[in-house]
């Protein structure tokens, strides 16, 4: 597994600009599709954008990012996480094509060991990752000196968190009573 310092040295010029980052992710997405981890089973019965790899990854991320908010009962927790992954799949459909491609390419790279190691310093696959493993990986990304890694942290964190809070069922957990007005209104 390349250390972060090694990555800084070897990739400094490539990661220097956002343009290079985007190009890098684009090429990497193609590359990663040939090298994905085997054995990931889909979490969703039907998914439009997320392949089984990405579904498993988001399951693990949701379990860590939303810890403290998710039900403690294992069955209920699992059910909520599947909902979060399903919402994430639908929210990708609401993005314009260039952002859909960018996010799917990134997820593809995070599903394959070599690109995953390069991007987030994690060689091992998502299937066996514990909540602690994922939390510690996320903390590493968040404090990284490489802006690409911090950007990946923000994207992964925001994807699962916004998918969770998209559900009005979560509002009571955070003390939001909901809108004061109910629609539908009138067209002028």
């Amino acid at each position: 597994m390349p250390s972060e310092a090694a990555l800084v040295r070897s990739r400094r010029s490539l990661l220097k600009t956002g343009a290079a980052t985007i190009a890098f992710i684009g090429v990497g997405g193609w590359f990663a599709s040939y090298l994905t981890d085997k054995g990931a089973r889909p979490v969703l019965d039907k998914a439009v954008h997320l392949d089984p790899q990405a579904q498993v990854m988001l399951t693990k991320l949701a379990d860590a990012v939303l810890d403290g908010m998710l039900p403690t009962d294992a069955v209920a927790r699992g059910r909520t996480i599947v909902e979060v992954v399903s919402t994430a799949d639908k929210s990708i459909a609401a993005l314009p094509p260039h952002l859909q491609k960018e996010i799917k390419d990134l997820f593809g790279m995070l599903g394959a060991a070599p690109t995953r190691a390069m991007l987030i310093g994690q060689w091992d696959g998502w299937i066996g990752a514990s909540r602690e493993d994922v939390s510690s990986m996320l903390a590493g990304l968040r404090s990284s000196s490489i802006s690409l890694r911090r950007g990946i942290y923000v994207l992964l964190r925001d994807t699962v968190a916004s998918s969770f809070y998209a559900d009005p069922g979560t509002w009571k957990l955070v003390g939001y009573p909901g809108p004061l007005l109910r629609g539908p209104g009138v067209e002028v």
């Binding site: 600009t17 956002g18 343009a19 980052t21 860590a64 990012v65 939303l66 810890d67 403290g68 908010m69 919402t87 929210s91 609401a94 993005l95 314009p96 094509p97 260039h98 952002l99 939390s135 996320l138 903390a139 968040r142 404090s143 802006s147 911090r150 950007g151 942290y153 923000v154 964190r157 925001d158 968190a161 916004s162 998918s163 969770f164 809070y165 998209a166 559900d167 009005p168 979560t170 509002w171 957990l173 955070v174 003390g175 939001y176 909901g178 809108p179 004061l180 007005l181 109910r182 629609g183 539908p184 209104g185 009138v186 067209e187 002028v188």
Partner: protein
């Protein structure tokens, strides 16, 4: 009942062509306002809008549903290096459908600077006064005293009072506001006097046409005159082209697609650019945000989002430019679960859960930075990507980063003065800070760098700036393109600096002035005559539609 011609690009099953006097690309504060003025002058107007025609009938009060419906790129638009989230409206009415109704006249210092530095004489404060008054009357812009500011805003006033900072009440473009607070998701009771409920229905009732879910891709021209605008029909969310093409042949083209896509349309169309400034000098009013946990209940989700502001830090060193940092306006930011949990909070696990569970006690203050007044500021550059894509490059330099870091500390001081238990800056290495000693120590300890110090924008300006001649600007002070006889730009992209205040009223007043001048100009091969009320359907439908079955023509009750 009046018949309205509204075409849904998403429903087109054939390519589609229309002839008109004026085609307006975009229906926000610039395009939407110009549409009414040009229609009233007797001109045939066709509006093109990339987004859908969403109204109070289908506005969702859930931000997770409303955001993909109403915002550009489903609210995910970012600058090239991902350093700045850039929110823009993408729906009929543009930003005026989803803004928080905050209304300011363009500050006099800004207008005087435009006169002095850019020669824009018609923007002198005295000359602009009647235009500000006219748009205030049209959109019911007034100091909002119908209700007390909500606690989120009261805390800013309280903190400012404690520190001896002057603050004031906002002016808002509302009529019968119910103070529910979800302005950003589209007003469910049509109290917000945006283009969606004012100028656009008025123009449609007088015969203007709107084609929504249609993204303009090219201005057809010969280097001197424009002859048409070509557009792609889009899916119902305005995201992906359906394959159908639209062409609007017009005597005059008004570009009003916002300060990212207006310059991009000129660039993609290879409109002559003698100054080389098309797509250059884009301003964002970059925002820093600090949340605070208060000791009393705030409910930052209910009540008018912005009702109090302070200009205490607007003019650092008493100067408009040549200062060590950017000036800024202090305002507030409403908080909803998906916005707080999905965007503003950057924690994971139990720390994130703790913050979210404090939502009813959270206050949120923002600093709106006045960018683009200094010559050394490069600000943003619009770049084309692929056949329709557009990217804004806006590097966060040390000057801006320093400004964001300082305003973050100053906002915390206001929150502590208002009694905050702790403040939480929008920074990846943020932690709850309980007083200014802790806050200053934290600011020295953490790195202030892009994608660590987080920033956003809800105001995009510049990129087609006004000026005196073709060597120093893209358009003249009336919005007319220097190199093209019949091309105008009427939106925030014409501003030569940022405004230094929420820009909607500046756009309305500029649009009022420049669209009125356009209507009266001798550009028309036909002579415009004022429209009269009560025209019959046949009289207000001067077009021969290529095929009446194309698209959806809806009849709406006005």
């Amino acid at each position: 009942m009046k018949s309205r011609k509204t075409y849904n690009g998403a429903a087109l099953d054939k390519d589609f062509t229309l002839d008109t006097d004026v085609v307006i690309v975009g229906t926000g504060a610039g395009g939407g306002f110009a549409a009414e003025i040009l229609t009233n002058a007797g001109l045939r107007v066709v509006m093109l809008e990339k987004g859908g025609y969403h109204t109070a009938r289908n506005f969702s009060q859930n931000d997770a549903e409303a955001t993909p419906m109403l915002y550009m790129d489903a609210g995910s638009q970012r600058t090239k290096d991902n350093g700045i989230v850039v929110l823009q409206g993408r729906t009929v009415g543009g930003g005026t459908t989803i803004n928080w109704t905050t209304s300011f006249r363009t500050p006099e210092l800004t207008l005087n600077h435009w006169v002095d530095a850019y020669g824009l004489k018609s923007f002198a404060p005295q000359a602009m006064l009647p235009h500000f008054e006219a748009v205030e009357k049209r959109l019911n812009i007034h100091t909002w005293k119908e209700a007390e500011p909500n606690a989120n805003n009261r805390m800013v006033a309280k903190g400012c009072d404690a520190l001896g900072y002057k603050w004031d009440l906002m002016r808002r473009n509302v009529n019968g506001c119910a103070n529910s607070g979800l302005c950003g998701l589209g007003c469910p009771i049509n109290a917000k006097q945006g283009m969606l409920v004012t100028t656009i229905p008025s123009a449609l009732d007088k015969g203007a046409v709107i084609i929504y879910c249609a993204e303009a891709t090219r201005i057809v021209h010969d280097g001197k005159r424009a002859s048409a605008v070509e557009a792609l029909a889009m899916d119902p969310l305005g995201q992906s082209p359906t394959g159908r093409k639209i062409r609007i042949n017009a005597e005059h083209v008004v570009v009003a697609a916002g300060a990212i896509r207006s310059p991009a349309l000129l660039m993609r169309s290879k409109v002559p650019d003698p100054s080389g400034l098309t797509g250059k000098r884009t301003f964002l009013h970059p925002v820093s945000i600090v949340m605070a946990k208060m000791r009393e209940q705030i409910d930052p989700f209910h009540g008018a989002p912005q009702s109090v502001y302070s200009d205490h830090f607007w003019l650092p060193e008493g100067k408009l430019f040549g200062t060590a940092r950017l000036g800024y306006k202090i305002q507030t930011q409403p908080l909803l679960p998906a916005l707080l949990g999905g965007l503003l909070n950057k924690d994971s696990g139990p720390a994130a859960a703790d913050l979210l569970k404090s939502l009813p006690f959270l206050q949120s203050t923002l600093a709106l930075h006045r960018d683009g007044f200094d010559q050394h500021e490069k600000c943003g550059t619009v770049e084309l990507a692929g056949t329709t894509g557009t990217v804004l490059d806006y590097p966060i330099n040390d000057f801006l980063m320093n400004s964001l870091a300082q305003s973050t500390l100053e906002m915390m001081e206001i929150q502590f003065a208002a009694g905050a238990e702790y403040s939480l800056p929008l920074h990846l290495d943020a932690r709850p800070l309980r007083n200014m000693t802790e806050a200053k120590a934290w600011a020295k300890e953490v790195k202030m760098e892009p994608l660590r110090m987080l920033t956003g924008s809800a105001h995009v300006m510049g990129g087609c700036q006004m000026g005196t001649d073709a060597k120093n600007s893209v358009v003249n002070e009336w919005g007319r393109h220097h190199a093209m006889e019949n091309l105008s730009v009427i939106d925030a992209s014409v501003f030569p600096t940022s405004i230094g205040a929420n820009p909607q009223q500046s756009i309305y007043a500029m649009a009022f002035k420049n669209a009125t001048a356009l209507a009266r100009s001798s550009t028309w091969r036909i002579s415009p005559t004022p429209a009269t009320k009560g025209l019959s359907t046949s009289q207000i439908a001067p077009f021969v539609f290529a095929d009446a079955a194309l698209g959806r023509i809806s009849d709406a009750v006005s």
